[in-house]
């Protein structure tokens, strides 16, 4: 058997829609590949992939493996695990990186056990040790207050899922060679999960939004003025965990450790107390404005402009001012 070499990146798509976080991971893999002289291999599974294969080939990979099959159009835990296992056995990558999205985390958890391989979950840094070439990652824990440096001690491929927004996707000056792979008959047989219905609506990529207005528990779930203000300043909307727990907004809109990390230039935080797992999600933002009735709220320790006021009163006036005083 050949030795384990190179860095592979799982490029996630669903129904022909590329998961942007994959390109961030691919870009990082490209940097590591150049530094450590390792080939970078993108792996894309799906159906009718021409456009996204073209796009994916531009982010630093040397080769792009494409598996085109109608059964792979949507993510299916069973089918994707089998096909990825086949490809890992064939290409034997030393490192395998995936975006830390729901689907890729599902896949990574299965593959790690299948290969008896190490896996660092939703890391906020991924590197290779200069001396022993082991995968080194930074893993946030305990609500994001504490970061652990984690190394792989055993198993190949050395795996990590990388939190969306950790790295920036950058176009490369080279294009990956596309390799079309066919998978052996039988790899997709015996599936035990059958898709019956799927409903999605387009949503803004919060991790890339320039301006975000966040609603906390202090809004009591009344988001009308928040939405109006956000639309006036061209901002996306996010919520804190209690509001997502209440089912007011899907978890895709939740800011913090179990949700999205923002990189916005401007963030308004209305009625959030400032729990560590939420503050973690805004730590990389530019200017943060917080509005809260409680002067002692911890959020004021973690923002640039602090406003002690009733958030609804302030929102009404902000909306009026933005409309030219009318």
């Amino acid at each position: 058997m050949s030795e384990w070499r190179g860095i592979s990146v799982f490029i996630e798509q669903d129904n022909g829609e590329l998961e942007g976080a994959s390109l961030e991971v691919l870009t990082r893999a490209g940097e590591l590949g150049r530094k450590f002289n390792e080939d970078v291999l993108g792996i894309l599974l799906g159906h009718e992939l021409k456009n996204i294969a073209k796009e994916s080939s531009q982010y630093g990979a040397d080769k792009l493996i494409v598996v085109n099959h109608p059964d792979l159009r949507h993510y299916n835990s069973d089918a994707y695990t089998e096909v990825m296992a086949y490809l890992i056995n064939k290409y034997r990558p030393r490192y395998l990186l995936l975006p830390a999205t729901r689907n890729s985390r599902d896949l990574a958890g299965r593959l790690a056990v299948r290969f008896r391989a190490c896996l660092s979950a939703h890391v906020i840094m991924v590197d290779i040790d200069e001396r022993d070439r082991k995968l080194v990652t930074a893993v946030p824990g305990f609500g994001g207050n504490i970061v652990a440096t984690v190394v792989c001690t055993s198993g190949k491929p050395e795996m990590a899922t990388v939190s969306p927004g950790t790295y920036e996707a950058k176009l490369s000056n080279k294009e990956a060679t596309i390799i079309e792979e066919t998978i052996p008959e039988g790899a997709l047989r015996g599936r035990r999960i059958e898709l019956m219905e799927k409903k999605t609506s387009p949503m803004p990529d919060l991790s890339r939004a320039e301006k975000v207005v966040v609603a906390g528990l202090g809004t009591g779930g009344d988001l009308e003025l928040i939405k109006e203000f956000a639309s006036l300043i061209g901002a996306a909307i996010g919520v804190t965990r209690p509001l997502a727990d209440m089912g007011l907004m899907p978890r895709d809109y939740q800011i913090g450790t179990t949700g999205v990390s923002l990189r916005a230039k401007t963030v308004f935080v209305f009625g959030a107390s400032g729990a560590p797992h939420f503050v973690y999600g805004i730590r990389d933002c530019g200017t943060i404005v917080a509005v809260n009735t409680d002067k002692e709220a911890p959020i004021f320790e973690n923002c640039d402009y602090c406003v002690v006021a009733d958030l609804f009163d302030l929102l009404k006036v902000l909306i009026k001012e933005m409309r030219g005083g009318k």
């Binding site: 729901r102 958890g109 207050n145 504490i146 190394v151 004021f300």
Partner: protein, 264 residues
């Protein structure tokens, strides 16, 4: 009407994240002063299991891997309505990563046996890897559906579940037995029944197994059996912020903010 067999709910006890302290000198995490609680998503998993039992029958068995004092938390689950509880407790397990945890839990699921479903919380509040549910499924050779928000129907050999995906949901039919992980907050966990709690605390006996009972060797668990190692811990301090209070009438504050942020 389908009839479910054992519904095994995995449960972990976690320290409240906001009460964890970090000692920068020793670079260790101090959990001793933090309040322990049943991992929030695991409570949702238990509630779902109890609802399924009410509708489709079956026995709800709590399964946990941790120190002996977790027993009191498992008994809260018994008081909520679970039928049985198994705690895997062994000194050798200290330092186990998600790989080892999924292996030990899967071995315990096999030993409990006769199961239709394993239900887990989507992730734990402390480690929050989310790797254990799909890992268990792989050890058991059964399908897994992660991030489930609802079980809409159960048949003899399969269930239909709603799973959260980016921007929406999908409905999938999955063959039993299966592992599902449920999202935090999908239901409101019931309160423990007072009389049942008295009974659980005084008479109920949690089954305690060590790794030998599961046929697993010491070098396969704990730090030795783990495939990842933590080499350093550090505190992630949020960036220093301006922390300027803006005061005045709402109009003055609004104008000041609009000016400073260049919103117009």
């Amino acid at each position: 009407m389908a009839s479910l067999r054992n519904i095994i709910v995995t449960m972990k006890v976690t320290p409240k994240p906001e009460e964890i302290r970090f000692d920068p000198t020793t670079k260790t995490v101090d959990r001793s002063k933090a309040t322990n609680e049943i991992n929030p998503a695991d409570k949702n998993a238990l509630e779902l299991a109890l609802q399924l039992k009410e509708k489709y029958g079956g026995r709800v068995v709590i399964l946990s891997m941790g120190p002996p004092f977790w027993d009191q938390f498992l008994k809260m689950g018994i008081a909520m309505g679970a039928d049985d509880a198994v705690l895997i407790s062994d000194r050798a397990l200290g330092g186990s990563d998600a790989f080892v945890t999924s292996r030990v839990l899967a071995a315990a699921v096999k030993k409990i046996g006769d199961y239709s479903l394993v239900i887990a919380g989507e992730e734990s509040e402390d480690g929050s890897t989310g790797q254990v549910p799909p890992g268990m499924a792989e050890w058991l050779g059964i399908p897994a559906v992660t991030y489930v928000s609802q079980v809409t129907d159960a048949m003899e050999d399969s269930i239909i579940v709603k799973r959260t995906i980016k921007g929406g949901y999908e409905t999938v039919k999955v063959k039993l037995p299966a592992v599902i992980s449920v999202e935090l907050g999908i239901n409101t966990p019931r309160f423990p029944d007072f009389e049942r709690l008295q009974w659980a605390q005084n008479e109920f006996k949690t089954t305690i197994w060590g790794i030998k009972d599961l046929g697993i060797a010491e070098n396969e668990v704990g730090f030795k059996g783990s495939l990842t190692a933590v080499t350093e811990l550090r505190e992630l301090r949020p960036r220093e912020r301006l922390r300027q209070f803006i005061e005045g009438s709402p109009e003055e504050i609004a104008r000041e903010l609009i000016k400073r942020l260049g919103l117009k």
